[in-house]
């Protein structure tokens, strides 16, 4: 009898906890516009995820407060058409997993009732999270994931403001071509190096096709394991193939490993062009120091864009004050996406999902009000892909990325071929 009482005493609180947790509802206020942002906040991309949130917070600060900035929504408090309603960013952790990403999207939709969702860095997570949004009729604006397939699904509620992989790879080849014309460089062979998740696989397929159509010979094609313990044989293969340019898709840890191994094996590729991800994470400079110099990457943003447009510089300073770091292509894209959304909500004049969807479809945002070098934002009526986005090519010089292409935005001539390790 006594034993079963003890048992009951243990079991009751457990049951209470279980039911209590199941019933956790999060009550929402009416005078705020909530935007759920889903990013990896634990796991190997956690640092990136945290910086994304900071970029969204900055966007919210600018919208919510009166600021002396020559930027949309800066001089007013809140969203004007909604009587000054405040933007509230509600972060959620995807753990980099498609399953968790979708669960978080559903949780936000049902409990926080956000006006829109944004995210999710990893294309695979965006895929499932936007699936949930589609099911519930919630606007999903993706500023960052680049997998072309995302906007080919014919979703009604899914919009993407950032350019896709295809655009960035076209940029890469245009850049090489322009450089060849301008300087008479000899670039005939390429090596394609990609990590083995969806991100790398997609890119390597497009790169291979485009290299073929543009008449480049692929002398080496390498797929390496994401989060490798070492990339010695990969680098040795590259050394043997000796390509004129290496096209690389890698996340932060593997990018660090590759650059270190290049140096260790005394191999200086004439040029390495990365596809964002690891290449544009701020840690590249903090971990590799001088060794990061001369890396190329496709990009959406670089600090030197501020030299021509003061507002870009101001926004970067504000971000710097918040995080101690410069913006990167990732965070500038997210920041921009937030303003595209606020603009649509403002034009819709309500938080009605259908009204916002219509407003997004009618978006015609001028390039002059963006901090990224796009011609503007206008969504394709069928795919909902921004048709005016474009990329730039940047090169690391002295611990910052500087724009080297397109030439009219460039603040620096591309260094190609790059100096050997012992001549730096």
């Amino acid at each position: 009898m006594k034993r079963s009482l003890v048992r009951l005493a243990i079991m009751l609180p457990v049951l209470a906890l279980v039911f209590g947790l199941l019933a956790v509802p999060i009550l929402g206020k009416v005078d705020t516009v909530k935007v759920g942002v889903i990013y990896p906040l634990t796991g190997s991309a956690a640092a990136t995820g945290k910086d994304y949130i900071a970029a969204y917070q900055l966007a919210a600060d600018i919208v919510n407060n009166k600021m002396d900035l020559d930027f949309p929504f800066a001089r007013t408090e809140g969203i004007p058409a909604l009587g000054g309603a405040m933007i509230e960013i509600v972060p959620a952790d995807s753990q980099g997993s498609p399953e968790v990403g979708r669960a978080e999207a559903e949780r936000l939709i049902s409990s926080v009732k956000p006006t829109a969702l944004m995210g999710c860095h990893h294309s695979a997570v965006t895929k499932t999270a936007s699936q949930a949004a589609e099911r519930f009729g919630t606007v999903f604006l993706c500023p960052d994931s680049t997998s072309p397939a995302l906007t080919e699904r014919g979703y009604e509620w899914f919009f993407r403001s950032g350019p896709t992989d295809t655009t960035f790879i076209e940029d890469t080849f245009d850049f090489i071509e322009d450089l060849k014309k301008a300087r008479g460089l000899k670039v005939e062979t390429v090596a394609i190096v990609s990590e083995d998740t969806e991100f790398g696989k997609n890119i390597s397929v497009v790169e291979e096709q485009m290299a073929a159509t543009r008449g480049y010979r692929v002398v080496e094609k390498i797929t390496f394991q994401n989060n490798s313990t070492n990339v010695n044989s990969e680098v040795l293969r590259l050394k043997r193939a000796n390509p004129d340019v290496i096209l690389m898709a890698a996340y932060t840890s593997d990018t660090i490993l590759f650059v270190r191994t290049f140096k260790e094996q005394k191999y200086t590729p004439p040029a390495v062009i990365g596809q964002r991800a690891g290449f544009i994470s701020p840690e590249i400079f903090t971990t590799l120091g001088k060794d990061a110099d001369y890396l190329f990457t496709t990009n959406v943003w670089a600090p030197d864009l501020g030299e021509k447009r003061p507002i870009v510089k101001r926004i970067n300073e504000l971000y710097r004050a918040k995080t101690g770091k410069d913006l990167t292509g990732d965070y500038a894209r997210a920041f921009t996406g937030a303003f595209i959304l606020v603009d649509a909500i403002n034009r819709a004049g309500s938080v009605n999902p259908e009204a916002i969807r219509k407003a997004l479809l009618a978006t015609d945002y001028p390039g002059s009000q963006l901090i990224v070098p796009w011609a503007g934002v206008r969504f394709d009526q069928k795919t909902h892909q921004n048709t005016l986005g474009r990329g730039i090519i940047t090169q690391a010089i002295g611990g910052v990325y500087r724009t080297v292409w397109p030439f009219d935005l460039a603040s620096q001539e591309a260094v190609w071929p790059v100096p050997a390790w012992d001549k730096r």
Binding site: T42, S44, I222, Q225, S228, N232, S233, R237, T261, E283
Partner: protein, 288 residues
């Protein structure tokens, strides 16, 4: 580069990598050998060793090679405390309890590191240990050479300790028969604490020297853990020379397949060698 040079380079890369895997594997083999248990959190001790090196270097500017003893000492204490408070409860318990405890602990350690130091990748700034050695076209980075040398010294040291010293022989006696060891006056509790501390210290030293060439990151341990485990099992659980040789085999398999066959499948071959070996010898190469 000629064919021979390339081959030599490939094998050498593999051996050096193998030494680094062995750095982690030695600790696992030690715990298994003495206490008959498996520590799935060994990779996380390595991670703590790396952070230890990083912070000592950041705060005092001390060279990572000199931080190795500090990291070793810190991790020894941590390991001994962990043994006294938690691990002793599962020594002799079925394997499942050990799996549960050490897996749980690795989750705790990874996320505590995330909580304390954030998710940024970090590296130690270049020290005097840098550059490359060039032997007739075969190039070795000094930052991988140093950990490899330390790995050899450490394996030899632990082996010497076990075979030649009084304490080491007490460890071996306890490993063979705990009760008999207790009967002849060996304090088995102390022996276990020592073994666990020593294995953690190995991870601390390993982390310190690895920080020369590798990035420091809360999840870095998981990258090495799997390979270290396969190396230990390949060599035969509990055998320190076995763990070392197992590491070398995995390293060379990885490097040779990666270069001559395919980089995408290099780990498949490494694991395949393990499977083939244990099917042929179910207790590993040197197991008993």
């Amino acid at each position: 580069m000629s064919g021979t040079q390339v081959f030599a380079q490939t094998v050498l890369n593999g051996l050096l990598m193998g030494c680094i895997i062995a750095l982690v594997a030695i600790g696992i083999a030690l715990i298994r050998g003495v206490m008959d248990m498996v520590n799935f959190a060994q990779g996380e001790f390595l991670m703590l060793g790396m952070y230890c090196a990083f912070w000592v270097n950041r705060l005092t500017g001390l060279d990572p090679l000199l931080t190795a003893p500090i990291a070793g000492a810190v991790l020894f204490v941590l390991g001994a405390v962990m043994y006294k408070t938690l691990v002793r409860r599962v020594v002799g318990a079925p394997m499942l309890a050990q799996v549960l405890l050490t897996f749980g602990f690795s989750i705790v350690l990874v996320n505590t590191a995330l909580f304390l130091w954030g998710a940024e990748f970090r590296t130690i700034p270049e020290t005097w240990i840098r550059g490359n050695v060039d032997i007739g076209g075969v190039v070795i980075g000094v930052t991988t050479l140093v950990p490899a040398v330390v790995s050899v010294i450490m394996a030899a040291g632990v082996y010497w300790f076990m075979v030649k010293t009084r304490m080491g022989r007490a460890l071996q006696a306890t490993a063979m028969n705990k009760h008999a060891a207790a009967l002849v006056g060996i304090d088995t509790e102390r022996v276990y604490a020592l073994a666990f501390g020593l294995a953690s210290a190995c991870a601390g030293v390993a982390g310190s020297v690895l920080a020369l060439s590798y990035y420091v990151f809360p999840m870095v341990g998981t990258v090495f853990n799997l390979f270290a485990f396969v190396a230990v099992a390949l060599g035969g659980f509990g055998s320190i020379p076995g763990a070392f040789i197992g590491g070398l085999i995995i390293g060379v398999a990885d490097s040779v397949t990666g270069f001559y066959v395919s980089t995408a499948f290099k780990y498949v071959v490494a694991f395949g060698i393990y499977l083939a070996t244990v099917i042929w010898r179910p207790k590993g190469l040197f197991g008993w």
